[in-house]
């Protein structure tokens, strides 16, 4: 994983920095003039407009009138955003995702540290973490609705399960690859075990934790939406399903946009945290 990250720093052909990790987003190479930056911005605006025009034209000519189209979505935004139903759906989903992520970060960090530092526990648990990480957690949603009913609790559990695995997995990797010089020095100074854990292993795992959280965000949203679909829970996922089924696709698209923006904002926060709080971690 760290190896993949490192490649983001390799020089590209044009001599600039190849800032091409998915989250580098709009970042343009550093050694770039203002004029070039304006050109890039222009190209982006033109490309975006072109996509919207193609969508609009295709939808108008080929698709039935209930299919979403850009102008319709734009026209819908004020009434949708103002509606009580939309606001409560947004609040419900976003809070569930944030709550689930918070729980997953705490649980995943604890589990990951234990697994990364205690090899026997790692071996006993590895099979389960690996298998649950490899399987699609959404497959558990029907079972979880049986256990927790068609309730927000079921959604929260799905979100936590989706998010906890990448976090635990990454933190365990961080704990495993902790440089032995640190632990050697700690032992030389007879540091108690809890200081090694909290003072060395935990901070050293922070970059791993954040890269796990980065993965967890997308998974958590998928889990929340699927749970809402299946359990018909108040939330953006169900808002989309309901509106598409009642031929209000434009309104449903607004909800989809909110989901995407939310995902981007959360991932942006992770990137920002890495830059601000972990300047010593230079792999990004």
């Amino acid at each position: 994983m760290a190896g993949e990250r490192m490649n983001a720093l390799t020089l590209n052909r044009r001599g600039g920095r190849a800032r091409n990790s998915p989250d580098a987003g709009g970042a343009a190479p550093e050694a770039e003039s203002r004029r070039e930056r304006v050109q890039v911005l222009l190209a982006r605006i033109i490309a975006g407009l072109a996509l919207l025009v193609i969508w609009q034209v295709c939808a108008v000519t080929f698709a039935p009138s209930y299919i979403a189209r850009p102008i319709g979505i734009l026209a819908q935004i004020p009434s949708v955003v103002g509606s009580e139903q939309f606001l409560s759906a947004t609040g419900s989903t976003l809070l569930a995702v944030i709550e689930g992520l918070a729980i997953a970060i705490v649980l995943g960090t604890a589990a990951g540290l234990v697994m990364g530092r205690l090899r026997d526990i790692d071996r006993a648990l590895r099979l389960y973490v690996d298998s649950f990480y490899a399987m699609p957690i959404v497959a558990l949603v029907p079972l979880l609705t049986v256990w927790f009913g068609y309730s927000p609790t079921a959604r929260l559990v799905v979100v936590v399960m989706e998010a906890v695995l990448p976090v635990a997995f990454s933190v365990a990797e961080g704990g495993r690859t902790l440089a032995t010089e640190f632990t050697d020095v700690a032992r030389a100074y007879r540091a108690p075990w809890w200081r090694v854990w909290l003072g060395i292993a935990l901070p050293a795992s922070m970059p791993y934790l954040l890269s796990g959280v980065d993965l967890a965000i997308g998974r958590a949203l998928v889990g929340a939406v699927v749970a809402e679909f299946i359990a018909s829970l108040n939330g953006l996922g169900y808002f989309i399903l309901f509106n598409v089924r009642s031929f209000h696709e434009d309104a449903a698209m607004v909800a989809l946009i909110v989901l995407v923006v939310f995902a981007l904002v959360l991932r942006g926060l992770v990137t920002l945290t890495v830059r601000r709080a972990l300047p010593w971690y230079r792999a990004r």
């Binding site: 029907p142 996922g237 989809l256």
Partner: protein
């Protein structure tokens, strides 16, 4: 992983070692985890209502029933034909788009923000729209799997092709290699390991797409089998199907990692 091959770290766990070291200890750890899991499953199953959780043994007999009455094999066949077609489509288009974007700076810069936004989109939320647009059946599910699997492939390919060391291209040019030769001997071999990383991620994401697609877009496949069973509160059968899904997930991941490692051998580390 290659735990046994790692240098034995000095007393990492902080307590005295009473059990044998090395390979045996590792095997003991894995076995203990496996046995503990099975025991917990059995005991919890025996002590809970049958619609909540069933013991391991009843799950296995449910699994036997599902196999012998033909519902599981037919669901597997239906699921994995969708999965295979969707994955192949995603890998081919992802690799092509990735290469194109990596080599055409204007395109890349113009479309990058939109690709990033699409990558961040929870694809399951598109399923209702797809249902309205193209309906139920085989191909809509293929589209869902491809949507899930496309972006990791595209991003890794693009990242790989973009990070080709300029020296390699310069040398190739200095020897007057043709454009075709540059692609054949530099761009494609350099990019393949990255593509394979994307393929591994795509295999996992595609599986999510497959199950989610089947929840909503079909009467067939593992996903809809799970939904039917949950409506009948047949927890044993649900656990059995979940077990099979987990097993296929693990196998696919192992295969993905194998392929990735096979190609990583010539990956130039940065």
């Amino acid at each position: 992983m290659t735990q046994a091959l790692q240098a034995p770290a000095a007393d990492r766990s902080g307590f005295r070692r009473l059990v044998p070291r090395g390979r045996w200890r590792a095997a003991l750890g894995y076995a203990a985890g496996l046995v503990a899991g099975a025991v917990v499953w059995q005991v919890v199953g025996l002590n809970s209502a049958s619609f909540v959780f069933v013991p391991l043994t009843s799950t296995m007999s449910s699994l036997g029933g599902l196999i012998s009455d033909g519902s599981l094999p037919s669901a597997l066949a239906s699921s994995f034909s969708v999965y295979a077609v969707g994955e192949v489509a995603a890998i081919v288009t992802g690799a092509l788009v990735g290469l194109l974007f990596a080599r055409q700076m204007i395109l890349r810069r113009a479309f990058e923000p939109y690709l990033v936004a699409l990558y961040a989109t929870p694809m399951v939320a598109l399923i209702p729209f797809l249902l309205a647009l193209i309906g139920y059946g085989f191909w809509p599910k293929v589209v869902v799997v491809s949507l899930f699997a496309f972006f990791p492939v595209e991003f890794s390919t693009q990242r790989g092709a973009q990070s080709i060391a300029p020296e390699l291209l310069d040398v190739a040019r200095a020897f007057r290699t043709s454009e075709r030769g540059i692609w054949r001997h530099v761009v494609v071999p350099y990019t393949l390991p990255y593509l394979m990383t994307g393929v591994r991620q795509a295999l996992a994401r595609g599986l999510v797409g497959m199950i989610a697609g089947e929840f909503f877009l079909s009467a067939g496949g593992l996903g809809s089998l799970l939904i039917t069973q949950s409506e009948q509160f047949d927890t044993g059968a649900m656990l059995a199907v979940t077990f099979v899904i987990t097993l296929t997930g693990v196998l696919l991941m192992a295969a993905g990692r194998l392929v990735e490692r096979r190609f990583a051998r010539w990956r130039v580390s940065a």
